[in-house]
Symmetry: C2
Subunit: 344 residues, 2 copies
Amino acid sequence: MNTTTRATLNDVAREAGVSLATVDRVLNKRPGVHARTVNRVADAVARLGYRPDPSAARLARPKPHRVCFVLPAGNNSFVAMLRDQVTDNLGWASDHRVTLEIAAVDVFDPAELAEGLRSTKGNFDTVVVVAHDHPLVRAAIDELVDAGMGVVTLVSDAPSSRRHRYVGIDNVAAGRTAATLMGRFLAGRPGEVGVVAGSLALRDHAERWFGFGQVMASEFLHLKVLPPLEGKDDSLRTEPLMRELLAAHPRLIGLYSLGAGNRGIAAALREADRARDVVFVAHELTPYARRELLSGTMDAVINQDAGHEVRSALRQALSRLTREPVLSDQERIRIDIYVKDNLP
Amino acid sequence: MNTTTRATLNDVAREAGVSLATVDRVLNKRPGVHARTVNRVADAVARLGYRPDPSAARLARPKPHRVCFVLPAGNNSFVAMLRDQVTDNLGWASDHRVTLEIAAVDVFDPAELAEGLRSTKGNFDTVVVVAHDHPLVRAAIDELVDAGMGVVTLVSDAPSSRRHRYVGIDNVAAGRTAATLMGRFLAGRPGEVGVVAGSLALRDHAERWFGFGQVMASEFLHLKVLPPLEGKDDSLRTEPLMRELLAAHPRLIGLYSLGAGNRGIAAALREADRARDVVFVAHELTPYARRELLSGTMDAVINQDAGHEVRSALRQALSRLTREPVLSDQERIRIDIYVKDNLP
DNA sequence: CTGTTAGCGCATTCAT
DNA sequence: ATGAATGCGCTAACAG
């Protein structure tokens, strides 16, 4: 079970018959080393099973890695949770010789996001961004990558950009999960199911809707899914929309809210006195959602753990810089299901 | 957002007007320092907001911390997952100057567990144990604690012992969660619900049963919960039990398996051709449970993440040794719910 | 009771 | 193209 004492850089140097500095050059792929020497060192590394000691590496590193979180501006609860998680990790970051900064941009404006991203160029080693799958944003991301920076997308991906990692959930699967819960909680009752999104132009929202529709159409044919409403993730807009929906659809027995703005939805449900009757499935376990789960207005919440996401983004950002390995198992972001009984 | 450059031990020494060694003595609570000096140093630490650099500390530490995992013997799938997770973390451990060892003992025999625990005394700094809430085991744990070792209970706790931490889920809440899923999936259908445990003498099993009963009795009065069967977590024993149960109860429409031995249960359900009809809720997302979820035999699985548990136990074990802070948020083990759509 | 000193393993000048 | 030397912040052995 024990690993015998690790080989050090010095061991490798001796084994390869070269000096410390040379080994360092080949390990960090710096130029100016003869090909023959490179091989010699590589062999020695392999023979000794050398792995750099991360503690020593950190200690010796003269300047910190700089990472910037580019997060949506505004007072959305989930975004607030992300922001809090970043500040909660300041100590950890400092222990690992990394400095953290947060920038806020308007997510619904791709040009501004792109601009915000570009402005980090040269000032950071890595940027972690809640992206938006839009040409301007993709271009900005690729520009940073070309400049040698690390780019990690968080929560919302830009898959066709050249970002190094995406940290977040599979939103299609999340939509499917919501559908399964909806269908099973409704257990055979026929009727209509409403869907409220923030904006279907947002890739994650579109994906959730897609997954939801997939399962509803194949497994719960007795339920009629209504066309999605778009409330811009804003309670002030979702509330009237929801009020109309309820008035127009007396047979509505289920509601899937795949974005934010849930306070408005809950308010309309209560006003119509249908909060208990309608099965309400939403996303993100905010303090507010927690209360609604306990009150019985919400029946299930699909969640992505903001803390886990921020830590994972940090670990992956670092691993690119230090080539420390990551345990892929630990970095997989789960699709959490919460009901009133398993709240953390 | 940035932390200014951290104060070092040397800064503290200078600020307090003493030497490095004295500061070290104070910080590590070693004896032989005048009370006045202790205060001087403490003040300097506070004034400078000093936090030790964990990398430097690890690098300088001459010998590794030794931690021993005392896990149940046998071929239970969940225990196999725990074991695998320990070996998966060997690299991490080595990076943190800790050595890992695994010992296997028979969980169902408290005397053997106690003996196994005692045998680690002096050979390890910390032991992580899947405990058993039994007087002999509690005594053995307390003995290790008295000897200055760290003790972390994993998955199964011994609450009245003096263990430093418990890493695992709230099993009462897990039972309640199972009941809510059962009740809602059954959605008003009246009938009987069976319960299969490993042994109600095991505290975690008893707690799950308790939580399950709580919710069933208060929220789903149309469902009749049958007395629990005990299958020793063994498919060879659960299968015949289950076969009898099905024969005796044609109105059985739900089954909660709160321990292991699920293969036997599924086999009996299939044999009686009632796998699709009975709502089957079980624990632990083993490779086997995964398949049954996809096949539709199992309807939901309550899980505790073995990887998360092992890493958390490790971090907490280390934090006691190095007094590095832990993010409590990160150490909370979630009660995961899996359906066929959100499988990792 | 308190101070001095020598590394831990690596990154990085500065020489050669 | 390669090597020697210095120091990161801390622990622990050794001197006073």
